[in-house]
Amino acid sequence: MSKLVLKFETAILKEVAVGQQEVSIGRSPDNGIVIDNPAISSYHARVFHEDGRLMLQDFGSLNGTFVNGQRVKMVTLKPGDSVGIGKHTIVVTDSVEVRATKLDDATVKLAVPKINETVMLDTKDRREFLRQVAAVGESAQPAPGRMKLPTLVVLKGSTDRSEYTLTDKLTVVGKSAMATVKLKGWFKPKAAAQINRRDDDSYYIGPADKVPSVNGTPITHPTKLASGDVIEVAGVELQFVVRD
């Protein structure tokens, strides 16, 4: 099966197999290969099978699609072809082993340490690696959009404020001195529930001294919150709202 390997300079960012479904390439997040870069059109090009051949079609993109350096509109691809889109390269391959070998090629320059000896990447290698990682980040990050502000709105119960904007890694609902949502009253637990922000900026609610419920369902394991969810715990009702 043919595969498309998306690269930025020497870093391999992504591999996509081309099966029956065509693979579209562009800046818009609904493409099969997303390249989030201003030089790329929203729907830039596509790769698909036709009569047993692998085809590449440029959708009339502003900055063009290049195969082995030549600007193209519609061409047949063969293994080894290099498709240039903006500063990114898509290498066509029919090998399944590409990933492992490419990795070794990329890393062989680094001094391989003695078994079990921990070492630090030396400065030059580390810069190169961080640069590659930054390039990956460029395509992995969502398109810059509006700021999302996750908020807890108090619907019912006694708290120190009527709403809370969530910015912390750990948000505690309870009587604890470090709680964000401070519960008032004598018999309230120190930590009734917890809300954790994960690295992808999603929010998960989990139990603490109490088992909270979300939309009426008890939560015993960390559960992702969606905008509009109503949380009930220790006599308070909070709505999780993500505002733009």
Binding site: K14, M120, K169, V172, A208
Partner: protein, 280 residues
């Protein structure tokens, strides 16, 4: 109030392992600060040992100084989204980084070359655990019979896995496992990664060096934490099992068990703490 009756039970053990000649791991327990620190030195011979000792000592000292003098300057930039305790911990580690860096620069030629250290530290306050780390020493949380890794290694392979460049399986076979992307003492400044977790009754936190998790799988670690009756027994057993599995590197484990008071009595170096009384 059920939280009022719990204590932090502490167990710790460090071992050279069966291959290395010296132990470059260090740890410090500062229960009076609810602070626990582990470091894995690198650079070989004295420099690795020295780097990890500096890392743990300076981290504890800075937190202790800040406890005595709240106005003590926070070293480096404030990290948003985490508590002051977390920021103090990060400050302490940045300071340790500079000390090790200077020590490495000052030692002439060979002896300071490659000198560096990883660090993982946890500090408990009120309702939470603040965790900070640099490098590939890890913090785990064992809760409800499930083990979760709280820290992401700052290593070449771990970063590649995170970016989707290689799979976890490929990472396990990689020759690059020992290559770090962040460590203390290598550059003048270091990025400290911090996170916070809710502290719940029954939680067990584990800090360990790579010598432990390279030898034991997560199910094995979970099994040992599950079976041990006390924190010290758990730490001993983890180190013994890692040695049994090969002991290819120095092995260090700190086990912190937040348990009802009765269990604390079984501890060898356990200590009452956090018996916070609540009006309710």
């Amino acid at each position: 109030m059920e939280r009022g009756g719990s204590v932090m039970e502490v167990g710790a053990r460090s071992d050279t392992g069966r291959v290395r000649e010296n132990n470059e791991d260090s740890f410090r327990l500062a229960p009076e600060l609810d602070l626990f620190v582990l470091s894995d030195g690198m650079g070989g011979l004295e420099s690795g040992e020295r780097a990890s000792r500096l890392a743990t000592e300076i981290t504890v000292t800075h937190c202790r100084d800040a406890q005595a003098d709240a106005a003590l300057a926070v070293f480096g930039k404030q990290i948003e989204g985490v508590s002051d305790v977390c920021n103090r911990l990060a400050s302490a580690i940045r300071l340790a980084n500079q000390e090790i860096y200077q020590a490495a620069q000052a030692s002439d030629g060979k002896s300071g070359k490659g000198m560096g250290a990883t660090i993982v530290a946890v500090r408990f306050l009120e309702d939470r655990a603040c965790i900070a780390h640099v490098g590939d020493s890890r913090a785990y949380l064992f809760r409800d019979e499930q083990l979760s890794q709280l820290t992401e290694d700052h290593s070449f392979v771990a970063e590649q896995v995170r970016r989707g460049i290689i799979t976890l399986e490929q990472a396990g076979r990689s020759r690059m496992q020992n290559v770090l992307t962040r460590a203390l003492g290598v550059e003048q400044n270091v990025d400290v990664e911090v996170t916070e977790e809710l502290l719940r009754e029954g939680d067990t936190y584990l800090l360990c060096s790579d010598g432990l998790f390279r030898e034991l799988s997560e199910p094995q670690i979970a099994g040992i934490l599950q079976e041990a009756t006390g924190a010290q027994e758990a730490a001993d057993s983890l180190v013994e099992q890692a040695n049994h599995a090969g002991g290819g590197d120095n092995i260090t484990a700190i086990v912190l068990r937040y348990a009802p008071k009765a269990a604390g009595a079984l501890s060898k170096i356990g200590r009452w703490f956090k018996a916070s009384e609540d009006a309710s």
